[in-house]
Amino acid sequence: MGTASDIKLIDEKGIRIDGRSLSELRPIKIETDVLERADGSAYIEWGGNKIMVAVYGPREAYPKHTQDIDKAVIKARYNMAAFSVDERKRPGPDRRSVEISKVISEALQCAIIVEQFPRAQIDVYIEVLQADAGTRIAGLTAASVAVAAAGIPMRDLVVGCTAGKVDGKIVLDLGKEEDNFGQADLPMGILAKSGKIVLMQMDGDLTAEEFDEATTMIYDATKRINDIQREALAGKYRALAMERGGE
């Protein structure tokens, strides 16, 4: 986690620096079918995060040695635009984005019915246009919607959410200052219906009790986030029905 600072991030009434309560999410907005060419796409705004996701596939896995004879392989690519952060980021993959791409691919692999597409790959391109803390879980949340919008069969939607420790208190969905100056960060990806954990990372300093408190908060929030995901997908099909003159 970041270095210690004198900035007070939570006031006496338990109100955070951006005005939220301890268990309050930042505003989240998800749209589907934002891109013409992709088989499925989604756009998410989560606080100040702006992230675009495109899905291509299932298509034949290439290069051939990456093929799995039993199932499709998920190739997620998490990428931050050079202008998405305060100091320009050098374009292209760095070690952080390679690791994030890996854990997001693994999380999606668990949600998608990959057994239906042996020897295929599903590409998931996650482009962070503006970063504001929690990009990996916002990207995962949107990626899951984009895969569903591509019509790829899934067991469940993956919902991403973060909790952490700020000024000694457990809080939901860290904002930028909280991420920089907080004491712990716990991003998780959870299957919405079953509650299975498909992504989990942690850094900082948490006791086992604090971990429980944080995960309880995350599970509670995943329901709210999942509603937004489902509404985005329902909106897509309502619009389709209208176009075709359905009821």
């Binding site: 270095t3 854990v103 668990c110 299957l191 990372q201 942690m202 086992a208």
Partner: protein, 260 residues
């Protein structure tokens, strides 16, 4: 024991391990909470500032530390720098290839690094030569020599041992050489899920059979410092709680046995 290069277990071996697990035992007779034998040889490479060879069962890794002066990061002008790199040497496994780090070696390096960094094991504040301009940079390089499962924990143990014996070459900057300032010992414990079982310190065969992996790093106070879930399977929240308990228990044992 012959082993397939592609990493596919024979069905006979698979059934044997799964059947043993039904009785609560592991293929090699260990308990689910038991580590393989650990051996640590400190200062293996005297030319390095600190080094160690670690054998974890048949897994063998070597960590070397080099400490050089250099510029601090702009956002942390008053802190020394730690960098961690892992090389999956082609000698270690039939399918490892030479070349730039791939996603596997990057993940291992970053998980090991996170445990060390977040525990504040190294007192980076005391590695400043001239505030904002010149600090000590601690380069940790880990080479995998022989791969038989659980590289993350083998690497962490090697790094802990190498850092504990590392000497900062202060004489090169007009001061005196001094021991690298160490504050605590973050121990990582990696576990895998096979069926509904959580097994710590998986060997290669158990890794190949498992659906998901989890690493939990703890310090002396029992606090969690870093976690990472890996592979395409899942954990339930109960699994994770169990893994945290296991890590904190095993971490304590390892600290007492090998780092007193």
């Amino acid at each position: 024991m012959p082993r397939d290069e592609a990493g596919i277990l024979s069905e006979i071996k698979r059934d044997y391990i799964l059947n043993k697990l039904k009785e609560g035992k592991r293929g090699d007779g260990r308990l689910t909470t038991e580590f393989r034998e650990i051996s640590i040889q400190q200062n293996y490479v005297p030319r390095a500032a600190g080094s160690a060879v670690v054998k974890l069962g048949k897994t063998k890794v070597i960590a070397g530390v080099k400490i050089e002066s250099g510029e601090p990061f702009p956002d942390t002008p008053n802190l020394g720098v730690l960098t961690t790199n892992v090389e999956l040497l082609p000698m270690a496994f039939p399918t490892f290839e030479a070349g730039p780090p791939n996603e596997n070696s990057i993940e291992i390096a970053r998980v090991v690094d996170r445990g060390i960094r977040e525990s504040k094991m190294i007192d980076l504040e005391n590695l400043v030569i001239e505030a904002g301009k010149k600090v000590w940079i601690v380069f940790v390089d880990i080479n995998i020599l022989d791969y038989d499962g659980n590289l993350i924990d083998a690497c962490t143990l090697a790094v802990l041992s190498a850092l504990k014996s590392a000497i900062v070459p202060g004489s090169k900057e007009g001061g005196k050489d001094f021991m690298l300032p160490i504050r605590n010992l973050p121990v990582s414990v990696t576990m895998v899920k096979i069926g509904d079982n959580i097994l710590c310190d998986p060997d290669l065969e158990e890794e190949q059979l498992s659906s998901a992996r989890i690493t939990v790093s703890t310090t002396e106070d029992g606090h969690l410092r870093a976690m990472q879930k890996g592979d395409s399977g899942f954990f339930t929240i109960e699994d994770v709680r169990k893994a945290i308990k296991m890590s904190s228990d095993m971490g304590k044992q390892i600290r007492e046995k090998y780092f007193q």
